[in-house]
């Protein structure tokens, strides 16, 4: 049973490992080796780097990031709602589904008011 169901997965894993090994071994074996100090710099998308990555962040970054993720995920619920809205309207349930979204957004707005009142978005 396991071979039957997981066989393709095992082949894929073997292929992935084989590919990685192949690339590592052959580039090391065939490729020319020329030393250049720039080669060993931290890669920064072509821009030369300016300090260590292990710096300290202000803890407020994390708070803002968490709040952003929460509200961002809510948008995921709004998009399918808007896609099927017209179908519900055809069934005569337009007001109902509008009310559902109003309740959902109402709860979100309450959370937003809470965040603002608690000063989570204030930077200073």
């Amino acid at each position: 049973m396991f071979i039957h169901t997981f066989g393709p997965v095992a082949i894929q894993i073997a292929f992935a490992i084989g590919m990685a090994l192949f690339l590592l071994i052959f580039t090391n074996a065939i490729g020319p080796k020329k030393y250049n100090p720039v080669k060993f710099d931290t890669y920064e998308c072509g821009v030369s780097y300016f300090n260590d990555a292990r710096g300290m962040f202000n803890v407020k970054f994390y708070l803002i990031a968490v709040i952003f993720i929460l509200f961002d995920i809510e948008a995921v619920f709004i998009i399918p709602w808007s896609v099927i809205f017209m179908e519900f309207k055809k069934l005569g349930l337009g007001l109902f589904i509008l009310g559902e979204m109003a309740v959902f957004l109402g709860v979100l707005v309450l959370a937003y008011i809470y965040i603002i009142k608690k000063g989570a978005l204030k930077w200073d």
Partner: protein, 507 residues
């Protein structure tokens, strides 16, 4: 042109939508709706108002909403069984009784927590919405008919509890408790989710009824994913209810969290997690012969849990730590009932939840009167002289500790008797004997608290700290009501047992 882009809705799917809306039956989730509204209202009050005045308004509001939730739970429990949200959630007497336990315990906790936090000098309004959200999560866990809803409820509950453990952000121990609890809890959620995924992989559904129809009294070994998934779910729930060997977080978290939060964490959430797990096991329709391995496993875990809990409690000095190990031991007794895995055992489970919640909340409410200095005085030496100085409080202490150790005529005795009796009736003799031996061990550390409170004298020359305690009205009412209930259930346990037996017929 735009209309063409949208796939035209077929008649059958239109009928399906209307059928789903007709099956919603939203009133079966009335307690959750009421308490959610309460949580949102108190959250808004917490955002707008400041310090002490806000705390008082929040206190009154949340007591009102929790009481309304309690009344609606009673009303729902009196209704016949029904499904809501197309069978994702179902309401019956079983979930009704547990909903009453959840909302009732939250109500008692809030009544005491208000004065407790005032004495501690902290005004934390977020306490009230978080407790109410936790209650909503627990209610969904018990009413769930689908593993996804169980997980959803568990997460609503857990996230609230993580924050509640660290709610006193000035106390370093409280913060430490929150971080430890969060890390362990997140870890255990992953186990639970993996277990759900495996059961889904094995049976093709997350609905409890569909799973039962798939297993259909056949061996669970027909498909390796089902037992593997059940065991992973057992581990996930085991973390939440602090089953040994997944109990390591319990003493630190219970000691670090503010006292009334510990009282909340040690009662209703355990009832929620265990009842959800027992409901999953029983509604899966496992064939008795094939689940012997599972029965043995849970049985061994029950014995290990109560033995480790009781033995570790013997040498503790901090009362909150003693209560942490005591709650581990009580989970061991409860696991005996889960292990028997039939409906009478579920009745014993419901009865034990009732009794354990009442006596634990009563005992913690009593401690909340004595606590000061961020609970650091709640040690065995710290309560010396209580019995002499305040005989009434000493009497209540006696009642609750007798009940916790299971001495008649208290409710704790009736609850343990019922569980061990069910074990013997179902021929689990060894479990019953080990359980009884364990309650004998547990008497040592409960009675040691009494020994310190009544017999040991405080050092001569020290001032009598207990004479300054002011009895807060709400707190005293809670202590009085729970003590009276402990005695009353201990003397006449019949009607709650009957209610429990009636509840499981409808499951």
């Amino acid at each position: 042109m735009q209309q063409v882009m949208i796939p035209a809705i077929s008649d059958s799917s239109a009928q399906q939508i209307i059928k789903i809306l007709g099956d919603t039956n939203i009133f079966y989730t009335l307690p959750q709706i009421i308490i959610s509204i309460g949580a949102l209202v108190t959250m808004m009050i917490a955002a707008i108002s400041r310090e002490e005045r806000g705390q008082v308004i929040n206190y009154i509001t949340s007591v009102f909403f929790l009481f309304a939730g309690l009344v609606s739970s009673v009303w729902l429990a009196s209704l016949p069984k029904g499904d809501a949200f197309s069978g994702m959630v179902s309401s019956d007497l079983f979930s009704g009784i547990l909903n009453i336990i959840y909302s009732g315990s939250a109500l008692l906790i809030i009544l005491v927590a208000h004065s407790y936090f005032r004495n501690r000098g902290r005004y934390i309004q977020e306490l009230f919405p978080l407790i109410q959200f936790a209650v909503v999560g627990m209610m969904f866990m018990t009413m769930a008919n689908n593993l996804i809803i169980v997980f959803l409820g568990l997460e609503i509950l857990s996230v609230s509890l993580y924050v509640l453990a660290g709610i006193d952000n000035m106390d370093t121990r409280s913060n430490e408790a929150a971080v430890k609890y969060f890390l362990m809890g997140a870890f255990s959620s992953a186990f639970l989710l993996y277990g759900i995924a495996l059961v889904y992989g094995g049976t093709g559904s997350t609905g409890l009824r569909e799973i039962a129809a798939y297993i259909n009294n056949k061996s669970i070994w027909q498909n390796i994913y089902i037992p593997a998934g059940i065991i992973l779910m057992l581990i996930g729930f085991g973390f939440k209810v602090s089953m040994v060997p997944f109990h390591m977080w319990t003493p630190d978290v219970y000691q670090g969290a503010p006292l009334m939060i510990t009282a909340f964490m040690s009662t209703a959430p355990k009832a929620a997690a265990l009842s959800a797990f027992a409901k999953i096991l029983i509604s899966m329709n496992l064939e008795p012969g094939s689940s012997i391995m599972l029965t043995n496993l849970i049985g061994v875990l029950a014995v290990v849990t109560m033995t480790v809990g009781n033995l570790m409690a013997l040498n503790q000095n901090d009362i909150k730590r003693i209560m942490a190990f005591s709650s581990i031991a009580h989970v061991g007794y409860l696991l005996i009932a889960v292990c028997i895995m039939n409906r009478e055992a579920l009745a014993a489970l419901i009865f034990y939840f009732c009794v354990y919640t009442i006596m634990n909340i009563g005992f913690f409410s009593l401690l909340s009167l004595l606590a000061r200095d961020e609970d650091r005085n709640l040690t065995l030496e710290g309560i010396q002289g209580l019995g002499k100085s305040r005989p009434l409080l000493g009497l209540f202490l006696l009642i609750f500790l007798f009940s916790l150790s299971g001495i008649p005529p208290t409710a704790g005795f009736a609850a343990k008797f019922f569980i061990f009796n069910t074990a013997i009736e179902n021929k689990f003799y060894l479990l019953a004997i080990l359980g009884i031996l364990n309650s004998a061990i547990s008497a040592y550390y409960y009675l040691r608290i009494i020994l310190y409170a009544f017999i040991r004298e405080p050092e001569s020359g020290s001032i009598d700290q207990w004479s300054q305690i002011k009895l807060n009205a709400a707190c005293f009412v809670v202590i009085f009501v729970t003590a009276a209930a402990v005695l009353e259930i201990g003397i006449v346990p019949g009607y709650i047992i009957d209610l429990g037996k009636k509840a499981i017929q409808f499951l």
